[in-house]
Symmetry: C2
Subunit: 195 residues, 2 copies
């Protein structure tokens, strides 16, 4: 027996919640804000997601999945490696410029806010960084095999360096966003590491 059907799409609710968490962070987001953003009543939200923390995990998972999807699209093995890397970097220049810069990154914000207090969150963030590093490493290995990487550059180390640089750009751009500066940084990175 099926009972009364849901009147909302859980995915939509998660996406709305993700937006609030992204803008305000976990602790600064209140239940009433979540209810308004999702258009759910308390009962519906708790029945569907357990509690605030459960909903947050769903939102974080969504954000992470989206991020990795974009990364995979940029680093598509069928495209030219350097084009892929350039696309990836260009995306970060975009995200650290203008209006979007102030919103920051949910992963970075969550890593700093909950990374060392919430094991479920910590695990997710750790896996994300591991995945991102692995994808960059693969791309750089491909670049190296095509002799497009500067000599003596080790792909795995360069991957870690690039990941740290990109996430750091998101931090600095929270308060000191500057498109030309971001642009110059990634250009210099390319100048020094590829050929």
């Amino acid at each position: 027996m099926r009972g009364r059907p849901r009147e909302f799409d859980p995915d939509d609710a998660i996406e709305s919640a993700m937006g609030v968490f992204w803008t305000s962070g976990y602790h600064a987001t209140s239940l009433p804000e979540l209810l308004e953003a999702t258009n759910l009543s308390r009962g519906s939200l708790y029945a569907a997601f357990g509690d605030k923390h459960g909903l947050f995990l769903r939102a974080l998972d969504r954000y992470i999945a989206d991020s990795l999807t974009r990364l995979d699209a940029d680093l598509d093995p069928h495209k030219d490696v350097l084009d892929g890397i350039r696309a990836c970097l260009a995306r970060y220049v975009e995200r650290t410029s203008g209006a979007g810069a102030k919103r920051g990154c949910l992963i970075v914000a969550t890593a700093m806010e909950l990374g060392s207090h919430d094991v479920e969150v910590e695990q997710r963030i750790r896996r994300f960084f591991k995945a991102m590093e692995a994808r960059l490493t693969t791309a750089l290995e491909r670049a190296k095999s095509e002799r497009r990487l500067a000599d003596e550059v080790e792909p795995s180390t360069a991957a870690r360096l690039i990941m740290c640089l990109l996430e750091g750009m998101r931090v600095v751009s929270k308060t000191n966003a500057d498109r030309s500066s971001s642009q110059a940084v990634v250009q210099t990175l390319l100048d020094r590491f590829v050929r």
Copy 2:
């Protein structure tokens, strides 16, 4: 007329409060936690610092001042430029390794948590990054004039790149700390940018 003297040292209280904010962040730190850490009663704390937010600003100012003091010590104009830069990088390797890594950085955490919602905080973080970038730029200009910088590297861009990289290392190390990895990253940075 002087009245009853203080029974506590405001600087000690600020340092204790800084420790709590550093560990838990602004929103996740409660008044009772602050009172216990500082050994103050509510009345004393509010009389001395106004409110939680006021105390936080004092703690943040302290953290920023300490950070810039260390940076200036590392980049001392009397020392060899490259030694200074290496010392600075080594400090970040240290801070992104082992136990300290999980604690993260109050500036990075605050930038992400309050950077776009609190103008007083935003201003402080912005000035810190500006100051850090300026100090790195000065050091790199000195390195360039001594022909210790790789050709075609612009000091101001390299400064921004290094700052982003270092702050990004703090983010990633929140969940994926790895000393040898941090070490390899800064070594690669040096290999690519100096001579």
